[in-house]
């Protein structure tokens, strides 16, 4: 069933995705410039060992777009990345400002989605609770974790942008 998604919600969401993408790219570039950690593909094993999760947007793919489930996945994915970004706190003084802004932008976008779901009456009755987060125990783990989380978030946002564009 298609939802009566207001055009302003879709346009604002698209802008929020682009805002987060820009900030996310900035953080990736800073991680590379500051710590020479430029290749997420070299950290796959590291990601497995720490159990860094990826958020799914299966219901947002253009082939099988289900609006309500897509919105719900979008919100829970953003909620997950909020938690992951928070777990990276203390990454370093140079990166902290960018990380804080990214966390705020993701938090605000999650609120935009949640409030729209509420307006449409499709929001779950209870706000989601955060799953257990990986624990980063060293400076290297926080930096490498930062690279992985931001690269996972980047592809998540790419899919979200396509879906929202499709809906707009």
């Amino acid at each position: 069933p298609s939802l009566p998604l207001p055009r302003s919600f879709l346009l604002k969401s698209l802008e929020q995705v682009r805002k987060i993408q820009a900030r996310n790219t900035e953080l990736l570039e800073q991680l590379c410039a500051t710590y020479k950690l430029c290749h997420p593909e070299e950290l796959v094993l590291f990601g497995h060992s720490l159990g860094i999760p990826k958020a799914s947007l299966s219901s947002c793919s253009s082939q099988a777009l289900q609006q309500t489930k897509c919105l719900s996945q979008l919100h829970s994915g953003l909620f997950l990345y909020q938690g992951l970004l928070q777990a990276l706190a203390g990454i370093s003084s140079e990166l902290a400002p960018t990380l804080d802004m990214l966390h705020l932008d993701v938090d605000n976008f999650a609120t935009t989605i949640w409030q729209q779901m509420e307006s449409l009456g499709v929001a779950p009755t209870v706000q989601p609770t955060q799953s257990t987060m990986p624990i980063f125990t060293s400076a290297f783990q926080r930096r490498a974790g930062g690279v992985l989380v931001t690269s996972y978030l980047q592809s998540f946002l790419e899919t979200a942008h396509h879906a929202l564009h499709h809906l707009a």
Partner: protein, 308 residues
């Protein structure tokens, strides 16, 4: 004591009986600021033997003054006590509240007109709470933003803002004689706040785009007479916003008019502008505005002087 300017002030001064240095029935006098000493309206004994003098100043026309209580002693006057009097007005409602979202500092800066001088220490607080579309709903309070002394603006840091959601914002003024509030604004920090209860609403502060001539040495660019190749890109912090731009150009001639080209994309590597035959040099400027979502035009980019 603080009173309305022009209102009366009543004061009393009491000398306890065991004040030995004074003669039995000292004549209590009063002095307002530098005015001559004057007797009180009435002086009488209190049950405990103290001497009390009472005075009423009918209209206090000083915004700030000291009222002295004195007694004659050894052919001089001795000050016994001093009261600071202040007079002024309750604050009028602050007006013209407007806000701008600065993408570089990520803060919402609001400013307002404080209203006429109150002559009294008056505090202004920028208050706000979270809301929803239409601003009927009252969500959590956002921080009380305290402006610097004698400043009529305040900056709400990013971490207190919920972007893309509406918030209600207003200014509260308060002094000892009363308080007042400005009209409330319903705004989305990133928006022009269509549901604004009053105008002018906030807007994102867009800086002008970067307009530049294409490098004519560039082989792919064939130079037609009377034509120019341009390229531009939006102001970096606003790149995530969908924007459209407007170009204006004018031959460098006395009293020449601007010609406008509207609905241009927010960035382009190659844009050809032709039929520029009126003068050897043209001045070009570009400005952009958030497209499809509300916004304010950026100011024009600095004038670019080019030879077609």
């Amino acid at each position: 004591p603080i009173v309305h300017l022009g209102d009366p002030v009543l004061a009393s001064c009491t000398i306890s009986p065991n004040c030995s240095k004074l003669d039995r029935q000292p004549k209590i006098l009063w002095r307002l600021q530098d005015e001559p000493n004057q007797p009180g309206d009435r002086q009488h004994h209190l049950p405990d033997g103290s001497q009390e003098s009472i005075i009423t100043l009918p209209h206090l026309n000083y915004t700030q003054a000291f009222l002295f209580c004195l007694v004659p002693w050894n052919n001089s006057f001795q000050v016994l006590d001093q009261a600071e009097l202040r007079a002024g007005y309750p604050p009028a409602s602050p007006s013209n509240l407007s806000c701008l979202m600065y993408l570089t500092t990520n803060s919402l800066v609001c400013q307002w007109e404080p209203g006429p001088e109150t002559h009294l220490p008056t505090s202004f607080i920028l208050k706000s709470f979270r809301s929803r579309t239409g601003c009927q709903y009252q969500g959590g309070t956002i921080l009380d933003c305290m402006p610097k002394k004698r400043h009529s603006n305040c900056s709400i840091p990013r971490k207190h803002l919920l972007l893309y959601q509406n918030m209600v914002i207003w200014v509260q003024a308060e002094n000892m004689l009363g308080s007042s509030e400005s009209p409330k604004l319903c705004i989305d920090p990133m928006d022009v706040g269509r549901e604004s209860l009053t105008t002018p609403p906030p807007a994102v502060k867009l800086e002008p785009p970067m307009l530049q001539a294409l490098d004519i040495g560039h082989d792919i660019v064939s130079r037609q007479p009377g034509c120019l190749w341009l390229s531009w890109k939006p102001w970096k912090p606003s790149e995530f916003m969908e924007q459209e731009c407007e170009l204006r150009y004018q031959p460098q001639l006395e009293g020449a008019n601007w010609t406008l080209v509207s609905h241009l994309p927010s960035s382009t590597d190659r844009f050809e502008l032709c039929s520029l035959h009126q003068a050897p040099v043209y001045t070009l400027q570009l400005r952009c505005i958030r497209s499809s979502l509300p916004g304010l035009w950026s100011s024009w980019s600095p004038g670019l002087q080019l030879r077609p």
